[in-house]
């Protein structure tokens, strides 16, 4: 059963400006989604950090298991050919 004495936790994602992705910036407590947006606005956009806010109930996030780190991430270590570092990038290409 949920503990009613504590507001549930929400994760906050902010889009800094149009065209960019929403980035995770932190978390906060709120009674519901609307209050979470208000709190996110007050806590995380005080210095004009963003133009859009997403809030997600923390309990809705499924995380990878830290004990499986070896099997999940180690196998990628020796596959350096997946990094596109062998290409010559023409000077004309500014944003890649």
């Amino acid at each position: 059963m949920e503990d009613k004495r504590q507001w549930p936790l929400y994760e906050v994602f902010i889009r800094a400006r149009g065209g960019l992705d929403h980035k995770h910036v932190g978390s906060l407590h709120a009674a519901d989604a609307r209050m979470a947006i208000d709190h996110a606005r007050d806590l995380y956009t005080r210095r004009q950090e963003g133009v859009s806010i997403w809030v997600v109930p923390s309990k809705a996030i499924v995380a990878s298991d830290p004990t499986e780190t070896d099997s999940l991430f180690e196998p990628a270590r020796d596959k350096i050919y997946r990094h596109p570092t062998f290409y010559e990038i023409p000077d004309e290409v500014k944003t890649l």
Binding site: W7, L28, H29, M35, D38, H39, R41, D42, L43, R46
Partner: protein
């Protein structure tokens, strides 16, 4: 039209009258902002601490613009600081609802809803003021105030339509503070002059819109609209409740103890 536009142009309204009227607007924001600041470090949750402080800072910001303008209109060399820190209580012209104590969080929220809705309806109309400076200040402030009302009305609905205890508390606060709202809309000669000159909206019009808004919020909060009661409050003329003196004592202490102190 911008925040540092020169003083009134087209219409030649008495500058002393305009000075007093602008102080009414500025003092309402200043005193309410100072009151809200008392919550910092004491809010029910750290998230609300920041929420309330943000609103307080918006209000102080509005007060700075308005007091600066008032000082220019007066033309006696008083800036925002002189007006904020060195005026006596009877030279403050805020409606006394703003100076009423915070009480519990519910009481603070009730006071906030009543004033937010007033400022919203007032500033929305004042963006059309013939006084370009006031129109610009209103245009900036209305965006802030719209959020303030979103915040405060959200809380009022939560508390009113919440538990038995939270409902009882905001009900009591609403009954306590309602009589003070009469003063917000009590039109006197100065309000009339400003409306006639196209500087400010008609208070009766602001009141109708305010009432509609308040009724909708109270309905959602399952709260009953209190009955109007006779009032004898004249904060707008400088006659205040006993509370303002304490606010000013705290706010003005430093400038009075160390004149012209800066940091």
């Amino acid at each position: 039209m911008s925040l540092d536009s020169p003083a009134v142009d087209a219409h030649a309204v008495d500058s002393q009258a305009l000075f007093r009227y602008v102080l009414r607007l500025g003092d309402l924001s200043l005193v309410l902002g100072q009151r809200l600041g008392e919550w910092v470090g004491h809010s029910p949750a750290v998230e609300e601490d920041l929420g309330v402080a943000n609103i307080a800072l918006d209000l102080i910001g509005q007060a700075r613009l308005l007091l600066t303008y008032a000082g220019e209109v007066e033309g006696r060399g008083r800036d925002e600081d002189k007006l904020a820190y060195l005026r006596e209580q009877d030279a403050y012209f805020n409606a006394i609802l703003a100076e009423q104590p915070n009480g519990d969080f519910g009481q603070t929220i009730v006071r906030q809803v009543l004033i937010d809705a007033f400022q919203l309806e007032l500033y929305e109309r004042m963006t059309n003021s013939l006084d370009v400076r006031l129109a610009a200040i209103a245009a900036k402030s209305v965006k802030e105030v719209r959020y303030h009302l979103r915040y405060s009305s959200g809380w009022l609905v939560r508390l009113g339509d919440g538990t038995e205890e939270s409902h009882a508390r905001v009900h009591t606060a609403l009954e306590l503070l309602w009589p003070y709202t009469v003063e917000l809309f009590a039109e006197d000669d100065l309000d009339r002059l400003m409306a006639d000159s196209g500087i400010a909206p008609r208070l009766s019009e602001v009141r109708d819109a305010w009432m509609q808004r308040i009724e909708a919020i109270l309905t959602e909060a399952t709260l009953k609209l209190p009955k109007d009661r006779p009032h004898a409050w004249h904060g707008k003329r400088g006659q205040h409740s006993e509370h303002l003196g304490y606010i000013l004592a705290e706010m003005q202490y430093l400038q009075r103890a160390y004149p012209d102190a800066r940091w």
